[in-house]
Amino acid sequence: MPDNWSFVIAAYLLAAVVLGAYWRHLVKKERELEVHDRMDRPVKSTQSMSVNQSVKGTQPRVPGTGHLRSEPSTRRPLP
């Protein structure tokens, strides 16, 4: 029986590539979620600050709809 090392290496490499690719996919997803969380935090802090300030009367409320508005730079795109 010949040794067929190329088949052995191919099988092990294939398993490594499949598991490695899935691992990378999970890491990528984790990074995306971290970016999402980071973008989410400033919006919340901006909103809470303007609520406090408008309650205290230090900053006039934005006229119009009455909704609190985030800064354009802190808005995240729709999923």
């Binding site: 040794d3 067929n4 088949f7 999923p79």
Partner: protein
């Protein structure tokens, strides 16, 4: 916790490789190509484990509507599909030098291919239905139905004429395998089972975070 598990996985994989390539001797009948079995057999056993977890998680979800059960089922199905894919591909790579063909439509190979497609269907159902609760419910039903194929895969070599030999692990009676081969298989099985636990843990955590981000 995940970091510790990650290092444990790396150690177990290195131990598996050392056993498979340095400790286990060359097989007298098949030559070195038999070393593919140290990936192929543990992969299919881990896929069985993954689909058993999907079955349990699906039953728990349908009876209790716990979202955590749905997340575990989802993650386990994804990782189970990966291991089934590795099983099919490594089996084909082993089959070419051993049987002279990459693929044959015999009972074991066909039932594994059906298993692979069924769990791909499970993941497709999840992706196709927008409503989260309905997607979880439908996929739980698919997860239960698909699990019926697992015993069919395992016992197909007894029920139908097959090119495949009967199981060398998970069979009644004492093992006929030499000790060093059995030990190598067990070390690799433990390593891939740890990989499964690690990937499922990671995926479940990500699914929870994704849901929180969308909420």
């Amino acid at each position: 916790m995940t970091r510790t598990l990650g290092w444990l996985v790396v150690l177990a994989l290195v131990a598996g490789l050392v056993m498979g390539f340095l400790v286990a001797p060359r097989d007298a009948a098949q030559g070195n190509v038999q070393r593919i079995m140290y990936v192929h057999v543990p992969s299919v056993l881990v896929a069985y484990l993954a689909f058993a977890v999907v079955l349990l998680a699906s039953i728990v979800y349908l009876t209790t509507r716990r979202e955590s059960a749905d997340r575990i089922g989802h993650a386990s199905a994804e990782v189970g599909v990966l291991f089934t894919g590795i099983t099919i591909a490594s089996g084909a790579i082993w089959g070419k030098p051993t049987w002279g063909t990459w693929w044959t439509w015999d009972a074991r190979l066909t039932s594994v291919a059906v298993l692979f497609v069924m769990y791909l269907g499970y993941l497709l159902v999840r992706g196709m239905v927008d409503d989260r609760e309905r997607a979880a419910r439908y996929s739980a039903v698919v997860g239960i139905v698909a699990a019926l194929d697992v015993p069919l895969v395992h016992f197909s070599v007894y029920s139908w004429p097959s090119l495949k030999q009967p199981p060398t692990m998970l069979k009644p009676g004492p093992s006929t395998m030499p000790g060093v081969f059995a030990a190598t298989l067990l070390v690799n099985l433990a390593a891939l089972a740890l990989v499964y636990v690690f990937l499922v843990t990671k995926r479940v955590a990500l699914l929870r975070r994704e849901e929180e981000a969308l909420a």
